[in-house]
Amino acid sequence: MDAALAATGIAKAYGGVTALAGADLTLRAGSVHALLGENGAGKSTLIKIITGAVFPDGGSLLMDGAETRFSSTAHAAANGVAVVSQELNQFPDLDVLANLFPMREPTRGPLLRRAEMLALARPVLRQLGVDVNPRRRLGTLSLAQRQLVEIAKALIVRPKVLILDEPTSALDPASSARLLEILRVLRDRRVAVVFVSHLLEEVLSLCDEITVLRDGRTVLAGRPRAELAIGDIVHAMLGSLPPVATRGTRRGVDAFGVELVDVSVPDRLSGVSLGGGRGEIVGLAGLAGSGHTTVLEVIAGLRRPSHGTVRLPDGRAAPRDFRAAIRAGVALVSGDRRRVGLMLDKPIWENTAQVASVALGRGGGLLRVGPLRAAARELVDRVRVRPATVDTRAGLLSGGNQQKVVLAKWLAADPSVLLLDDPTRGVDLGAKAEIHALLRAIADAGAAVLLCSTDLDELGAVCDRVLVFHRGSVCAELTGDSIDQHTILHTMNTGVVEV
């Protein structure tokens, strides 16, 4: 098979940071190519270079055998190379439809053809299971929906080369499955697909070839999937053997933690009662809209229940506004890091100081840069941010590392109730295991931990219990060995536990 697109010897350095040091990637039509590597390995940078968003320092790009260099992603798209970028490049104030056709709107004369745009978008959106009015303002969509819109934008181009940078990190299992199905169809239509993901099982179920980057170099170049075992891949990524994820020994719930009694939120929750003890990690699972993340919002004071009571570990009723909740020891880690998590133009240390020292004023009335940076260094080590310098602006970090900074800033607040909504979105295998260990340590130290995750394996890996939501109420409680991906998935779809 001929290479549809071949990138060789791509190099890119940002100031002193080398993002890529001679990376290669060869794509073939009709093949799904997995691009793997740790956080910060250079995957996104390579993709940005291939699609013309970033200029390389060196290397060459051949498309259908001819030397190419795209001047922008629009230029790339016009040549059949579409990209779903990791950090959603979208326009929250515009409607969904406008977001689907940047720089390539169909026109008649000087005017847009909205009808044609709609006609082009409908089938793609439907295929992806996006059921939103295309005239809705994009900013009002959930992260998952926005992610799907971003994918739709790439599919509409009918690309010859489709590059997806962690397209599933925000998606629930059903949507992911739908996407993978679409990619399989595209493969049959002889599209060259690049797929980046930190969910190895998902990748391996789909891909035909694998390229692994480490520290900006290609360490495994386009090897057929069949030739590789998981261990080889992980070894190539990490340069060592994978850490073994352990659920840890479940400790008895030694104290009262958070509690919801008969809580209802109109259109979202109906009469939910649940509890999470101190020292316990409770998973919340459900389809999008089933109400499981609403539980987090209710505890955090972001949403007022119309009925019922919510109690925090100190036994008092949970505050009804977010800031009071934070002061009472609640932490809320969101996977929507760029919108609500980070100050992208600020260095890491300012981000990690934002909750404890800045919002809560725990550092006293005078903040000195030195101690803040020192504290940040410690946190950065704890969550394994790379590069481990605290002066890097958050926006310049790789996606996974940005996510770790969000976690770090909440850890700094030393919460007694830790609420997590996809906290490891885009975090690599190794770091994920360490974060899981960290969560366990936080629980052991006496915090109540509630975890929502679109990664069902993650629920299995860390949770002591998993509560499955269906249409606004808890339909099942899974414990011990019954917490596995298959059972959770079945339960959240049907509302009943398989017997």
Binding site: S72, E297, N493
Partner: protein, 345 residues
């Protein structure tokens, strides 16, 4: 589940089709900031109830007529604001175009040609702004603050600090552009045309999408291959041309050129656009809203005159009424905003 989803989708489709007829109209009105229109109407009604003399056709026509210049500038400004830019030189562009057109006429150029050149000059002044912003690499705020003085200075210097009079007032330029057609001043018709045109440009052309895209997320815009500098240049030129047009209309109405004309229009135009619903943070804009915002301000200043406010209290009263009018607008708007509450996971 798939079935369920499809059902849902098709019911949405149905609904959409059903509403198609009314839909466009209501959507247009809602998108185009009905709240400021409602606040304006309310204000007119209140003033009219208290001072019936205000409630005459002639008076309302005069209010419209006097709002035209700021309204035009505000319409252009809404483009700029929606891409997170600002142009402080619009008042001076207005003045300089007006003076230059007057001088051209006095110099013997045929009035209509002079008018066309005036609009062109406005565009050129906008281009100068764009060039300064681009090549000196400074924020448009600073660049246009400087050109505001520069252009105003030119308006003073060109006319040698004097008003320009002695224009051929019998020419069709003055009688037509300064006159009335179908019950409305011609300049109001021009405003209506420009408003529709700019709304179309903003809503129904790729250019309009680019403008709002940049304001919504400049980084994503650059990532998507949208040329920020190019779009900004076009918008600044557009703004300049609209300012030039306003100046030409102003000349046709006032029939003489004063170098100070349009001083302070920049703030009024920005205020009108913001009151109309175009936020300073960019991403969205409404040309209609900006125009209504200007009319609202016009109604305030016109209406107050009917209450015989002593000169020393007029500024206080103006501020107060603007505040009240904006409060009404805000109350009307907040009902809509409540629907799109955005704080949550």
């Amino acid at each position: 589940m798939t079935t369920q989803l499809h059902e849902q989708a098709s019911s949405t489709d149905d609904q959409r089709r059903r509403n198609a007829v009314l839909g466009l109209a209501t959507r247009a009105v809602r998108a185009e900031s009905s709240s400021v229109l409602a606040a304006t109407v309310l204000l007119v009604l209140v003033i009219g109830a208290l001072r019936p003399a205000f409630f005459s056709v002639g008076q309302l026509r005069d209010v419209l007529n006097s709002s035209v210049y700021v309204a035009l500038l505000a319409a252009g400004m809404s483009f700029l604001l929606s891409m997170r830019e600002i142009d402080l030189s619009v008042g001076s562009i207005f003045g300089l175009s007006l003076i230059s057109t007057a001088l051209l006429m006095r110099g013997g150029v045929s009035p209509w040609l002079a008018g066309a050149l005036g609009v062109l000059l406005g565009g050129v002044l906008g281009l100068v702004n764009a060039v300064v912003v681009h090549y000196i690499a400074i924020p448009a705020f600073v660049a246009t603050l400087a050109t505001m003085q520069l252009y105003r200075g030119l308006a003073v210097a060109l006319g040698n600090g004097q008003q320009v009079t002695g224009l051929p007032l019998d020419d069709s330029f003055f009688t037509v552009l300064g006159g009335t057609e179908l019950g409305l001043p011609v300049s109001v018709w021009v405003l209506i045309a420009v408003t529709l045109l700019l709304t179309g440009l903003l809503r129904f052309t790729p250019f309009g999408y680019r403008v709002r895209s940049i304001g919504s997320n400049p980084d994503a815009a650059a990532f998507s291959g949208i040329s920020i500098a190019g779009t900004r240049t076009k918008v600044l030129v557009l703004m300049g041309a609209v300012g030039g047009l306003a100046g030409v209309l102003g000349l046709a109405f006032f029939t003489s050129g004063d170098p100070n004309i349009g001083t302070g229009f920049e703030l009024q135009a920005i205020a009108a656009a913001v009151i109309g619903g175009t936020p300073l943070r960019g991403g969205t804009a409404t040309v209609f809203g900006a125009v209504f915002g200007a009319i609202l301000l016009g109604v305030v200043s016109s209406g107050l005159v009917f209450f015989s406010i002593p000169a020393n209290w007029s500024s206080f009263a103006t501020g107060l009424v603007v505040l009240l009018a904006v409060a009404v607008d805000s109350v009307l708007r907040s009902r809509r905003r409540a629907r799109e509450s955005a704080f949550g996971l």
